[in-house]
Symmetry: C2
Subunit: 207 residues, 2 copies
């Protein structure tokens, strides 16, 4: 597989392809043409063929794509079968929702630790993983460096928590705080819910 040649734009589309293919698989649809997939996804068939050609094709003229084969290939390109270790910091409302809503193993991660500063939570278990006190962060992270950290602490705590994690060697963040995380050596994927809602509010105003 020539992963190197997959452009950022194609990468952004891969999870979406996977969503549609998983949906087809659940409905026991075995194969699909690029035309039919394009209709469902509101992309052009040539766009789809071009995207899939980036990583080696998989279609057969007049036959279409084998749904299960294609979803396994896309999952492999995304790295999903190989689980990376992630921790979650901040087990409040948002942290709880992420823990209960996301099946980490299906997204290429294994949740190894949860951290919070709430004494009522420390020592308890959420989704089968123990909550540790934030004071133990450095010691535990040094002993078992996670590949990524999910930041679901309140805004006021975010700068401190992220700096501490970065100092300990964590170089990837799934960031739900309103803080913009910027390190030259780190991967950051931010979900700024407030920005998203305000953008929608703006467009409602213009309508």
């Amino acid at each position: 597989m020539e992963k190197q040649h997959v452009s950022a734009a194609v990468v952004r589309r891969l999870p979406r392809y996977l969503r549609y293919l998983n949906d087809l698989s659940r409905r026991e649809i075995v194969r699909i043409s690029s035309e039919e997939l394009s209709r469902r996804m509101a992309l052009t068939a040539s766009q789809i063929r071009q995207d899939f050609n980036c990583f080696g094709g998989y279609g057969q003229q007049g036959y279409g794509y084998n749904v299960d084969h294609l979803r396994q290939e896309i999952a492999a390109i995304l790295g999903l079968p190989n689980q990376k270790k992630t921790i979650l910091v901040g087990a409040g409302n948002l942290g709880h929702a992420i823990l209960n809503h996301i099946d980490f193993s299906r997204h290429g991660f294994k949740l190894t630790d949860i951290y919070d500063n709430n004494p009522a939570l420390v020592g308890t278990s959420l989704v089968g993983v123990t909550v540790h006190h934030i004071d133990d962060l450095e010691q535990r992270v040094a002993a078992d460096l996670p590949d990524m950290a999910i930041i679901t602490v309140p805004r006021a705590a975010a700068t401190d928590v992220v700096d501490r994690l970065h100092t300990c060697g964590v170089k990837a963040f799934w960031n739900f705080s309103s803080l913009d995380i910027r390190y030259d050596d780190s991967l950051v994927e931010s979900v700024h819910l407030g920005d998203s809602l305000m953008t929608l509010r703006y467009h409602l105003e213009q309508r």
Copy 2:
């Protein structure tokens, strides 16, 4: 204000400007130069001046921007002072987190109704708003059409719920389901958490 001339790219940056200006305001910083703001936001000073010129300037040569004036202007452009009615459908983990995490009034919305199909939730109150049974959706929405609906139902329920809302006249959606909502006459802002996490997983693999 010449709102018409604000490009989509500028609109995407406005909530981020507002976040930084709110932060400055909390720290009681009264004014800021475009150079200082650019350093904090990792934008160029000329980009910032150009963005603010889109909606009338507000800077004074050698003085900089008045923080409170600027945040009020940006809030006004986004429409935040005028609250639109929103409902939330799906008061599970994710719905709860959104309800507790987002201050709707600060984002230009007023939460008017919550819907769920869980008998244990129906009739209770979350963040001061009553949870109604999903069966009452059509009747209540017809009586008091909301400007927007937040979709936090599980995937299996999403298609049905969104179709019902659209039929009732709801034409804007803040969508947390993995469904892609597509109507020619509707505004849709989607937060696809799984896509976001898989994109991060891909980049971790490449590193």
